[in-house]
């Protein structure tokens, strides 16, 4: 049914395509008692405000300062990370891989975008993009070079493919000359990309 809208009328986004479909799905699930609107709000708020790479940075800084914690983290990443209160969804099975002078690690999800949400938040666009997902397995050094990272030929590069069952996170090497920094100051040095493996510190 056509209503008499003038030519200068701008449609509300809710009337259009995807936004409308999402609203319809949400309303149907709520009407059927399958989800609650407040629960959806809470999930959005959690991922927008409470999780993100700063969580992972705290884990990394603690591992640099506390050898026992580091050993635990590498042996049972899930438990060690949970012990710091980072327990959100998609963090049930996490494995932390350590960068050393001999080995540099990178994470990817070749199939879609599996990612350790509780410690890194949601993945950046390039992590979800076909170029990164396809190429990092085939030619990791070329991809790293495009991130500005040229690793010595002597350093082995290992690529870890996250899945729905297990999500990887990289423990970057502690930067040199940081012996006098506190754990909190060290956490400030840790970047998201260093925990993906596309950067070093």
């Amino acid at each position: 049914m056509q209503d008499n809208l003038s030519d200068d009328h701008h449609h509300d986004p809710i009337e259009e395509g995807a936004a409308l479909r999402v609203r319809a799905l949400e309303e149907l699930l709520i009407a059927k008692g399958l989800v609650k609107a407040e629960a959806i709000d809470a999930v959005v708020e959690y991922y927008e405000k409470e999780t993100g790479p700063r969580n992972g940075a705290q884990v990394v800084a603690r591992a640099w300062c506390d050898p026992d914690f580091k050993a635990w983290l590498l042996k049972d990443g899930t438990a060690a990370i949970h012990s710091m209160g980072f327990k959100g969804y998609q963090g049930e099975h996490m494995r932390v891989v350590e960068n050393t002078n001999d080995t540099h690690n990178i994470i990817v999800c070749t199939l879609c975008s599996c990612y350790p949400w509780p410690v890194l938040g949601l993945p950046p666009a390039w992590y979800k993009g076909a170029a990164y997902r396809a190429r990092v397995v085939r030619e990791p050094r070329a991809v790293l070079a495009e991130f500005g990272l040229d690793l010595p030929a002597s350093q082995k590069v290992r690529v870890w493919d996250s899945t729905a069952e297990i999500r990887f996170m990289v423990l970057p090497q502690r930067p040199p000359n940081t012996g006098n920094l506190s754990q909190a100051e060290l956490a400030d040095l840790v970047t998201r990309d260093s925990m993906i493996g596309t950067a070093v510190l």
């Binding site: 009337e15 995807a18 999402v22 059927k32 629960a39 709000d41 991922y47 666009a125 390039w126 076909a130």
Partner: protein
């Protein structure tokens, strides 16, 4: 510059550059991205639906899109990604019999009608000149 040259340049760039995005960019580029994301996360948390069931749908759509026209710049990647996400959500809900497809179009029509009713009542109160 011809269209052909533009395309060649874009292609060359796309082959050489992995799209980047600074850490401070918005988490969700559209409000509905956040809702679609949270909808399936909430449903998996609050029901017996396994995450892998949804993920399988998502993987299929991403693979199909990758074959057709993979996006290169960060915004396009995000937009295409969430288009796939939404299709995967919808098909999961239907395949798992949470919702029947005709219900979706009926609900869309109800929302459209209610928006039209609200607008109509507002225009009656404040008629255009």
């Amino acid at each position: 510059m011809s269209q052909c040259n533009v395309d060649d340049n874009v292609l060359l760039q796309a082959q050489r550059i992995i799209p980047d995005r600074p850490e401070g960019d918005p988490l969700f580029r559209r409000a509905w991205h956040a809702r679609a994301f949270a909808l399936i996360v909430t449903l998996v948390k609050d029901s017996d639906l396994p995450w892998a069931t949804f993920q399988t749908q998502l993987v299929e759509r991403l693979a199909a899109q990758q074959k057709d026209a993979p996006a290169r710049d960060p915004e396009q990647i995000d937009l295409q990604y969430f288009d796939c996400w939404l299709e995967a959500v919808e098909d999961t809900l239907i395949a798992q019999q949470f919702i029947e497809r005709p219900e979706i179009s009926a609900q869309i029509e109800r929302i459209r009608q209610s928006v039209a009713d609200i607008r109509h009542s507002q225009m009656s109160l404040h008629p255009r000149t």
